[in-house]
Structures are given as structure tokens and as C-alpha cells.
């Protein structure tokens, strides 16, 4: 399946785009996606934290992805 990932802040700079399309195996979960991303973009490994949001909610490592999900990569937040 193909997922679209929204990128923000430093992850946008590391990956060089505000959106990313990614081919994943069926039943790929959040962990699989994070591993792939860290392998393809090693600079992501240096971040304080890296989370995945699915449909505006922080996702657990085992949550399975689907093509319809709105997926976002969340580097360390710092509002306020």
C-alpha cells in the first residue's frame, strides 16, 4: 500500500519536503514505518524523539496503518 506522510519542523528540513509518499507492505504498523524512515533518513535517528500521528492522534508502535490514514511525523514539539 501507499501512505502519505505530512512533515513538519526539522523533519521537513531533513527529508527536504513537506510531504512524502511511501510504499509499505500490507499490515505495516507504526514501528515498521519509523524503522524505514530512520533507515532512509539517518539524521532522524539524532532527534530527541520521533512520533507518528494518525488522524490527528498520537499512535502506538503496534498500530496498523491504512492508505486512508492521515499520517504525520512528529519531531519534538515546542509550542508556547
Amino acid at each position: 500500500m501507499q501512505v502519505k506522510i505530512a512533515l513538519f519542523g526539522i523533519t521537513k528540513e531533513i527529508i527536504g519536503s513537506s510531504k512524502l509518499k511511501y510504499e509499505l507492505g500490507e499490515n505495516a504498523d507504526v514501528n515498521n514505518l519509523l524503522e524505514r524512515l530512520k533507515a532512509d533518513y539517518p539524521a532522524l535517528q539524532n532527534l530527541n524523539s520521533l512520533l507518528i500521528a494518525i488522524n490527528d492522534e498520537y499512535a502506538q508502535a503496534e498500530q496498523v496503518l491504512s492508505e486512508q490514514d492521515e499520517i504525520a511525523l512528529i519531531p519534538p514539539v515546542c509550542g508556547g
Binding site: A6, F8, G9, I10, K12, E13, N46, L47, N48, A53, D56, E57, Y58, A72, I74, P75, P76, V77, C78, G79, G80
Partner: protein, 136 residues
């Protein structure tokens, strides 16, 4: 009133949004852009937000505060885009019957906002820029 905006935040409007006849106390927190960070002069700040999720999380935090304290009304407004020294990045206002709860609830909201709301801050110096908190 829970929003993200690119325009300057109108503090008076945010305070007016929490006015309530049953309120004896209003606490307001304004996060402003400092001219330095760790003794290094800051030229400008750029805030980026994942708007839909940020508003959802801000509303969740407001609801959590309402469950913990007897809040009359609450408002949370965060700005994004380029900000100059002195500009307000966030304004939070909470009205309660008595004062202690207004302080506690407002502090809870800003503390939690900084931990979970997907907003990012880039500090721009004379000689470079850095995404705050990104690296150890």
C-alpha cells in the same frame, strides 16, 4: 475559543472570551518572544503548527482542565509564522469562581501544551537557526 492564528493575538479579545458573571478570578498567561536564549541574541522566531491536530490537542487540554478545576470559561490561542521580539506566541485565559484554581488551571494548560501540542519553534540567530528541543 481555541485556535491557531497567523495574525497578532488580540489579548483583550482572549480575556473577553472568558468573562463570566460567576467568575471572581481570571488568570492569563502570555508567552512572549524573548530577545535571547541561553545568553545568545535571538533575531526572530518561526512557529510552525500541524493545525488540525494542534487545535484538537489544545481543546483536549482545555477539557482536561475543566474536568479538574471549576472553570467557568477557558481560551487558548496560539500564533504561528514569523514572530518578532516581544510578540505573543500564545495567550491562555481561564476564569474561575476563586483565584487559586485560575492559577493552577492556567499553569496546567501551558505546561501540558508545551508537552503535547504539535507546534514547533525555530530560533533564528545572527549566524544560523535551530529547531528548539529537537536534539539532545
Amino acid at each position: 475559543m481555541v485556535t491557531i492564528t497567523e495574525a497578532p493575538i488580540n489579548t483583550q479579545e482572549v480575556i473577553a472570551a472568558v468573562q463570566a458573571d460567576g467568575a471572581g478570578a481570571i488568570n492569563v498567561f502570555i508567552g512572549t518572544v524573548r530577545n535571547q536564549t541561553q545568553a545568545k541574541p535571538v533575531v526572530q522566531l518561526d512557529f510552525e503548527a500541524y493545525d488540525s491536530m494542534a487545535v484538537k490537542k489544545m481543546q483536549e487540554i482545555a477539557d482536561q482542565a475543566k474536568a479538574k478545576w471549576p472553570i467557568q470559561k477557558v481560551a487558548v490561542v496560539h500564533r504561528k509564522g514569523p514572530l518578532q521580539i516581544g510578540d505573543a506566541a500564545v495567550v491562555i485565559a481561564v476564569s474561575t469562581p476563586h483565584r487559586k484554581a485560575s492559577f493552577e488551571a492556567c499553569e496546567f494548560i501551558i505546561d501540558t501544551l508545551k508537552q503535547v501540542v504539535p507546534i514547533w519553534k525555530k530560533e533564528i540567530f545572527e549566524d544560523g537557526a535551530v529547531w528548539v528541543a529537537a536534539h539532545p
